[in-house]
């Protein structure tokens, strides 16, 4: 290996700072795909979390357990599932979504939804019941009362969203299988890192790794400061 560590780091930084278009295209794809997946899932997931926490319908136990299980399934297995759905011979083959961003978004939706449902269910279960009762008795509609609860729980719900987002932004298995790692189309940060490492081109891999590292630091910082504000209320 003729590259020293310092030289590699230097190369990585200059790739980022010189706004290398390849690197930034990859970063752009990563964020836009993951944001899209998050946006589509966030409202239904939170509402499902609310329903699981607040209502006692038959089969609630089954749904709760299913979601817990989905949460712990490796992303490659979800990738495999989505791949089989999207291949021409699959159930959703007519969509022609294999090796497209739409396909990646679908896969990431399946990865982030269980995390958000489970975490928002936990949040809604912890909320003071009086918040719901007060809102409803003051004449708020069902939807407005749910929105009021979301407002009360904004810190834990934001934590849930951030947790789900960081899970899909960093997952490699599903993106690789469903996206196919096509340059400028479906190559995102994790799949690019996997590829550049396999090519032995560590500078770009490190540059992209740094982006994820910086993002993780920022998100952790936000989480930390939010948790500080999430102390239990006095009555």
């Amino acid at each position: 290996m003729n590259d020293g560590w310092l030289a590699l780091l230097q190369q990585a930084f200059s790739l980022l700072l010189s706004l290398n278009p390849d690197v930034w295209a990859i970063i752009n794809i990563s964020f836009s795909v993951s944001f899209a997946a998050l946006l589509i899932t966030v409202v239904p997931s939170i509402i499902l979390g609310f329903i699981l926490a607040f209502s006692h319908f038959r089969g609630r136990w089954v749904v709760t357990n299913l979601i817990q299980t989905l949460q712990s399934i490796p992303t490659v297995v979800i990738g495999l599932l989505v791949y089989l759905l999207l291949t021409r011979q699959g159930v959703l083959g007519d969509l022609k979504w294999l090796f497209t961003q739409q396909g990646m978004i679908l896969g990431q939706m399946l990865i982030c939804a269980p995390v958000m449902v489970a975490l928002s269910q936990a949040a809604f279960s912890s909320v003071d019941r009086r918040a719901w009762e007060t809102s409803r008795t003051l004449g708020a509609s069902w939807l407005r009362a749910v929105w009021t609860l979301c407002r009360e729980l904004r810190v834990p719900l934001l934590l849930a969203i951030i947790a789900a987002f960081s899970r899909i932004l960093t997952e490699v298995g599903c993106s690789m299988m469903v996206g196919g790692n096509i340059m400028n189309v479906t190559r995102n940060i994790p799949t690019a890192i996997a590829l550049e490492t396999s090519k032995g081109d560590f500078a770009q891999a490190i540059a992209l790794g740094l982006v994820l590292l910086i993002l993780a630091l920022v998100l952790n910082f936000i989480l930390g400061s939010l948790r500080g504000k999430a102390l239990p209320r006095s009555h």
Binding site: V33, A36, L39, F99, N184, T197, S198, G200
Partner: protein, 274 residues
């Protein structure tokens, strides 16, 4: 409240942003999906010559780099428009089964047996590839196999069969990785491996391995581009795929293939014959 509003507007901005980003390929004209092997992609050949095709034809080529087995599988499922691979037997079956049409040999390079510089199995003195493999299996040494159903992996299995060796001896490791990763692992473990010359030259600077054995008909590595049968999958981009295949065999492209070098060495030899 302010924080909530800020985060809502941030999310909204992101929707617009991602909405605009969703289909850049659709904006850039028609897409041709090419499933090919990691060896052509990792060597940098496609990155060097495909932009010229895209500029001339207006098509956008999306390259899905994988093993030959997976590439042919994608072709037979109708998930890609055209395949470019290097496993003659599997390709013949792909065509015979009615999935592939118009196979064209466009270029070749060769396989080489790589190993540590001190050559613990004394492979250098082998009389052919089969002999070299026999020595690796019987002498105390390590062998790293791609193990991913790629063209290189199939070639390797072919040679083991010819050598009448079951590849499960103590030093044999199947890693299930692409060529590049396999080379890096062989380098780390100072093991023998079978590689295509293209990828080896591209990686040479990073490797502390040498060519232990080369040459002979058994190690030839021909690449074919194969179209997908339009009767099986009528709605694929057959026109684009045909244009790409025709472009590959044009004299200008064949010259470009010959002229493509990495670190001063020619990687592929254009071989198309009418």
């Amino acid at each position: 409240m302010l924080k909530l509003k800020a985060s809502v507007s941030m999310l909204l901005a992101a929707t617009v942003f991602s909405g605009a980003m969703l289909s850049p390929a659709a904006l850039a004209g028609e897409v041709i999906k090419l499933a090919t092997t990691t060896s052509t992609e990792n060597s940098g050949l496609l990155g060097a010559i495909l932009p010229k095709f895209e500029a001339e034809s207006g098509y956008t080529v999306q390259v899905i780099a994988t093993g030959t087995g997976q590439a042919l599988k994608l072709g037979s499922q109708g998930d890609v428009d055209v395949v470019m691979t290097h496993a003659p037997e599997a390709e013949a079956k792909f065509v015979a089964d009615g999935y592939g049409v118009e196979p064209r040999g466009i270029m070749e390079n060769d396989f080489i047996v790589l190993g540590p510089k001190n050559d613990p199995a004394a492979v250098k003195a082998s009389k052919d590839a089969v002999d070299a493999f026999n020595k690796i299996a019987t002498k105390p040494s390590q062998f790293i196999s791609r193990g991913d159903n790629s063209g290189t992996h199939m070639k390797e299995l072919e040679i083991w069969q010819a050598a009448a060796v079951t590849p499960d001896f103590a030093g044999y490791t199947s890693v299930g990785q692409g060529m590049g990763k396999t080379l890096l692992m062989a380098n780390e473990l100072q093991a023998y491996t079978l590689a295509d010359r293209g990828t080896f030259i591209a990686y040479k600077a990073k490797l502390d391995l040498t060519i232990s054995y080369e040459g002979g008909a058994a190690l030839a590595n021909p690449y074919q581009i194969i179209l997908i049968n339009s009767e099986k999958y009528p709605d694929l981009n057959h026109k684009g795929a045909k244009a790409l295949s025709d472009w590959f065999i044009s004299p200008a492209t064949q010259t470009m293939i010959n002229q493509f070098t990495v670190q001063g060495e020619q990687l592929f030899k254009a071989t198309y014959k009418k």
